[in-house]
Amino acid sequence: MVKQCAVTKKTVKDGKEIIVCDETRSKLLPVLQGIQQKKGYISDKDMQETADRFGIHPVEVYSVVTFYAFLTSGPKARHTIRISNCMPNIMAGSGKIQKEFEKALKIKKGRPGKYKNIVLEETGCIGMCDQAPAALIDGELVGNITPKDVKDIVRRLSKKPLTRRDYA
């Protein structure tokens, strides 16, 4: 579990509370990851409240959330497919796999495809270079994807909640 930022509230003379945060900014990321894990995304309210807790500005939190691919600032589809686009993956043909996915999901030029509950994204290296082309599907690592697997994955994702065995 993510350790939460300890916030001290000081009461000042006219009875109001001012918030003094004694956490350093380096704890910002763990806190954001915690929220992401719990809710699936970091809402507007969460961002502004987090900013308050750390004594920084909401736009700074927004900046961090948009920078990291695994943090999202709005609700997304139920399933996320993240295709690794590091060099070994590209060489192993991740581009082709991506095209296959786009075809299977009927995505055209960045517009959402037929399956509203599945989004397709790219990610930097996920440490699966030995099993390239690889992808991260709802947090699960999947390696050695062949064009044949793609349809299968999409079909299963579109049907039911995931279990590990789905892509084993």
């Binding site: 500005h57 736009v59 999202t72 600032s73």
Partner: protein, 641 residues
């Protein structure tokens, strides 16, 4: 001029390693305290930790910079300042390379030139905009570099269509991110210098852009319109909203009576736009230029600055009376100045519970507007509907202030257009008028009479100085005890300054102030104002009486509408010019201004803070809070990442 390095250092929340390196005096006896380095064959002795850039500047070697700015902490993101350091494999960014040993540095070589040219070419690759139609044409750091480094073609191509929509939502600041080179000077200005936090770099890699919280229009976030980001942007990505077109129309319209009030700061800076040295005051030439452009009357905001002192000073004395003589606990002290519209919006956003501390007096600009369309109109038999009231201001936040819905106590919009120094310079140039070589002319009557006290409003500490000159004399009947009326304790460039003055031998009606130590404070730049407000919230300022806050570093002379560039030395020169002009005047105290006396005799007959003056010269504030209401706009949360 002692520059204000301390300013940037103290306000910056950047990690120590990224802050501006301090050079300072070399201590002769310190072991290893100084180092001799070799730059392009020239030996330079520098203190340990000096950056290569600073060392080069000491011997007048120019290294190009883009992301570096003397007011801001280090970023080291643009790499245009690269140099060769012996025994380093790669080129080094000189702005962020602290010297810790005797090194050999080369600031130009074919390798360096090629690297710099490539960097510029890469910036131009994504730079969408035409110099002809750009506000920064001829004053753009990117344009200058492109010329200096011999860019004759787009080596890496050139973007053909804009990538981003312009954000023109704000009354004061327009953003065109197609011209942005991602130097992040605006980000550091807004967060570190001003503590507002309206701008940040969002997204990543090629998708990086400078944006607001949730990509909201600037008008809907906490931006205080201070324009400090504009002054520090190297390109035309940020500019102030230019009202010149409407003013030209009014000047052309024979029915309209177009008047302009000129604030103290532009006259000490507008010369820079015409190639004069910073700190050259051109007050009377400017009057001539304004008349030649076609304005019907040119007036002086110093007049209403004097009036502000009367109103705000009286308000303070009344609060003190209630608190000290009446023992009234509900009186809000210290009283805080309200003439800086950027600061007013700042406190409305970030300390809405403390609005009671603000003086209710309007800013000089708005007082002027109200008087122009009432007293002035009546005396001269002009229908106020035909008056077009323009203000020449050093400030972009004034554009927002004059649009505030409550600013219509004259029955009309009190000030129609707030024009900045830069924009008026543009109008003068458009008429082919050569400002530096014009004959002199005076302000028009009656609103053109201002005192030196009104003039020093332009510099940080000026309102306090003017208030002390007047209040001390009103209360004791004697002139304030400072040599040549220089209230030195409140002058200076430190971010927060404190002073106190003991009041003795008061006149009969001010007996309750006998022996009281009046404690005052001055802050400039809203990052410093924030510190003051935090002290106030913690109850540390309970024994203080009066605080001056200016939103911009240096006060109004460093305002967001002033000529670009800005820096500690330029601001220092402008401040000097203002103090020098003050000492050249005979009239140096607000309460001695004959027109101020006249207006209280003829018009505001109940005196300062009376009924009519309350209606025309005072205002109220809006508790805005800092919560950003995202639902208000169509562009809701994006899909993230």
């Amino acid at each position: 001029m002692a520059d204000n390095k301390a300013f940037a250092r103290e306000t910056s929340r950047a990690p120590v390693s990224q802050r501006r390196q301090e050079t300072g005096e070399i201590k002769k006896d310190a072991i290893g305290g100084d180092i001799t380095v070799n730059i392009d064959g020239i030996a330079v002795k520098v203190a340990m930790g000096t950056t290569i850039l600073e060392a080069a500047r000491m011997v007048n070697i120019k290294i190009p910079t883009l992301c570096q700015h003397d007011d801001l902490c280090l970023a080291g993101v643009c790499r245009i300042c690269v140099v060769e350091v012996d025994n380093e494999r790669t080129l080094q960014a000189s702005c962020s390379y602290p010297i810790f040993g005797p090194i050999n540095i080369r600031t130009y070589s074919p390798r360096i030139r090629r690297a710099r040219r490539n960097i510029i070419q890469l910036l131009l690759r994504n730079h969408y905009g035409e110099c002809y139609s750009c506000a920064r044409n001829n004053n753009c750091e990117l344009q200058v570099l492109a010329k200096e480094y011999g860019v004759t073609s787009y080596k890496f191509g050139h973007i053909k269509a804009p990538r981003y929509d312009k954000d023109q939502s704000s009354y004061a600041v327009e953003r065109d991110m197609n011209k942005c080179i991602l130097c992040r000077r605006c980000v550091r200005t807004c967060i570190d210098l001003q503590e507002v936090g309206a701008l940040e770099a969002v997204h990543r890699g090629a998708g990086t852009k400078i944006s607001t919280y949730m990509d909201m229009p600037l008008n809907d976030v906490v931006c205080i319109n201070c324009g400090q980001c504009i002054n520090r942007c190297p390109t035309g990505a940020l500019k102030a909203k230019d009202p010149a077109e409407g003013i030209w129309k009014a000047i052309e319209d024979a029915k309209k009576h177009v008047i302009i009030q000129t604030a103290p700061s532009p006259r000490a800076a507008i010369g820079e736009e015409f190639g004069l040295k910073p700190g050259t005051s051109v007050t009377k030439k400017l009057n001539t230029a304004i008349k030649r452009i076609g304005f019907d009357k040119v007036f002086d905001t110093n007049f209403t600055a004097d009036l502000t002192i009367m109103e705000e000073g009286t308000e303070l004395l009344l609060r003190l009376k209630k608190a000290i003589a009446g023992k009234d606990k509900s009186v809000r002290l210290p009283q805080i100045t309200s003439c800086s519209p950027g600061w007013v919006k700042f406190i409305e956003h970030f300390y809405p519970g403390r609005l009671g501390h603000l003086s209710t007096a309007k800013s000089p600009q708005q007082m002027f507007g109200a008087i122009a369309k009432t007293w002035y109109a009546e005396r001269n038999n002009i229908d106020p509907a035909d008056i077009v009231s323009v203000s020449l201001m050093p400030c972009s936040a004034k554009k927002f202030e004059c649009q505030r819905p409550e600013m219509n106590s004259s029955g009309y919009k009190d000030v129609d257009y707030a024009l900045t120094t830069r924009e008026l310079a543009g109008m003068i140039k458009e008429c082919g008028i050569d400002l530096p070589n014009l004959p002199l002319s005076d302000f028009d009557d009656p609103l053109g009479t201002g005192s030196g006290a009104g003039l020093v409003f332009g510099a940080t500490g000026g309102v306090m100085e003017a208030a002390i000159r007047t209040a001390y004399e009103l209360v004791t009947g004697r002139e304030a005890p400072f040599e040549n009326l220089r209230v030195m304790p409140v002058r200076g460039v430190e971010g927060i300054r404190k002073a106190q003055i003991i009041i003795k031998d008061t006149l009969e009606q001010w007996k309750f102030l006998e022996g009281v130590t009046l404690k005052v404070m001055v802050a400039h730049g809203t990052a410093n104002a924030k510190k003051v407000m935090d002290m106030l919230c913690e109850g540390q300022l309970d024994d203080y009486h009066f605080i001056e806050v200016m939103a911009c570093p240096g006060g109004c002379i460093g305002g967001g509408g002033q000529p670009i560039p800005t820096g500690p030395d330029i601001r220092g020169a402008r401040i000097k010019a203002i103090y020098a002009e003050d000492e050249s005047l005979v009239l140096r105290k607000s309460h001695e201004n004959p027109v101020v006396k006249q207006i209280y005799e003829q018009y505001f007959k109940e005196g300062p803070c009376g009924h009519l003056s309350h209606k025309l010269l005072h205002t109220g504030y809006t508790a805005r809070g800092k919560w950003i209401n995202v639902k208000k706009t169509k562009r809701g949360p994006g899909s993230g990442s």
